[in-house]
């Protein structure tokens, strides 16, 4: 990100805060529903002081990251399997069409039976709704590896497994990461919605509890926290992307 872009983000954020504060002060809307920034900050501070915010935040982020990592690994494994066996790919395509549109909220009530209210529940739901990004991108990317690169491996008398590890996966990784970036957003959605419904802990639960007890500044503060979480998760994925496919990040910035 260039300095100019950062500056713009800052200007824009200040602009939003200014508009917010003005609206709140002018009293166009009842200030009860539209508290000032100071009040929201105080709400956040209170939640930090009594420890509930950080505890919930650790829960939510931990679940989102764990689920995302597992979903990514499973997605890639399934993509490899699909690449090896067209028969599997064709059959799994049917399942994808059926399972992909199911919203996470719909799975939560029943999944609670199977997995209880602990980490397992969240992992299951995240995996169910996030493997599709890494999987679909992985299948497409593995298929798109230039045949010359694979033949190169064969000329070096590499085994199929070596070709997969040293050639196909590295070649497919940038596109897989595009799928992971999408999956990260979905993973956070899945966690928050599951916490809202399962109702025991985490940011989603806190959000529902605060709003049901009409703690409006806290509700706004928590919504802001979920946005920040989205940014944090995106940054994490980006870090992984730079670490594993730094060459591609550079190439994108390189004038062709």
């Amino acid at each position: 990100m260039t300095a100019a872009l950062r500056l713009r983000g800052l200007v824009s954020l200040l602009f939003v805060l200014l508009v917010w504060e003005t609206v709140s002060r002018l009293g166009i809307v009842p200030s009860r529903y539209f508290p000032g920034l100071a009040e929201i900050a105080a709400g956040a501070a209170e939640m930090i002081r009594n420890g509930e915010l950080l505890a919930a935040e650790a829960m939510t982020l931990g679940r989102a990251v764990a689920g995302l990592v597992l979903a990514t690994l499973i997605g890639i494994a399934l993509a490899v399997l699909s690449d090896v066996s067209p028969f599997f790919e064709r059959g799994f395509r049917t399942l994808t069409g059926l399972l992909q549109p199911i919203p996470p909220a719909a799975i939560v009530p029943l999944a609670i039976f199977g997995f209880g209210l602990g980490l397992k529940l969240y992992i299951f739901i995240i995996v169910m709704v996030t493997i599709w990004g890494p999987y679909l991108n992985g299948v497409a990317a593995l298929r798109a590896v230039p045949v010359e690169q694979i033949l190169n491996g064969r000329m070096m008398r590499m085994t199929p497994a070596q070709i997969l590890w040293h050639i196909k996966l590295p070649a497919a990784l940038p596109e897989i990461f595009a799928g992971i970036r999408y999956a990260a957003a979905v993973s956070l959605i899945a966690v928050v919605v599951s916490e809202m419904i399962a109702g025991r802990d985490g940011i989603g639960y806190l959000l529902v509890r605060k709003s049901f007890s009409i703690r409006i500044p806290e509700t706004y503060a928590l919504m802001f926290v979920t946005m920040v979480n989205g940014v944090l998760l995106a940054m994490l994925v980006n870090l992984g992307r730079r670490l594993l496919t730094g060459w591609h990040v550079k190439q994108m910035g390189y004038p062709a």
Binding site: R8, V11, G91, T94, L98, A105, P109, I189, V192, T226
Partner: protein, 254 residues
Amino acid sequence: MTPARAAALAAPLALPLALLALWALAAAQIASPLFPGPGKVLMAAVQNFWIILDQMGATLRRVLIGFVLAAATMVPLGILLGRVRLLGWLFEPVIDMLATLPPPAIVPLVMLFAGTGDAAKVTMIAFAAAIPILINTFEASKVRNAMTSLVARSLHLTRWETMLRVDLPAATPMILTGVRMAVAAALLVSVTSEILLATDGIGVFLQRQQENFQIAGGLAGILAIALTGLAVNTAILRIEKGVLFWHYRNDGQS
């Protein structure tokens, strides 16, 4: 039918059927009401057919209204932000920020303002659907193809004509991608709001099944959602291909 043709036809179904058989076998082994087999689920689906249809109808009605509201307001707004440089410059980071907000997180907030009725739910759904439509419309109308702009000018089209007949068609593929994401978000928020603020809808049905330990009925409900989602996605893809035949013919991929 030749064996090769039979194999080609079987491929899409073989794996799902094998998994189904595995599931049936496992269910027969475990023999617990908490782990129903596919037969039980099918029976529950038949038993609850009219209820599911009814509740699904309630859900889809709200999804449709919310979605139409979102599309009707956000497409023009997105074009405006994309076209008026200053507005775009100012609001792009705001839009990016809103994009990171998980759509269901607005359910509690809107409830505070609008309560738990139908209007409140439609508002939540509209809000969730609005964001992807706004982002994609904005992004699509920000980039303008230099070549087609030149052509438009050489044809002496007015600004409005250019916008309507050149820029808008060029922006449609991306806008439709936003539409598809919006439908998914709308369905998600709809189900979430129903479970949290129970009145009616497929979410309520799922919740009731859980409360009464009716796992088979719950799975039947999920199956109904899956099939609905599949049908909606297929329909949107159809429409996309119909409206955007030139796009698909141009470069073969979306």
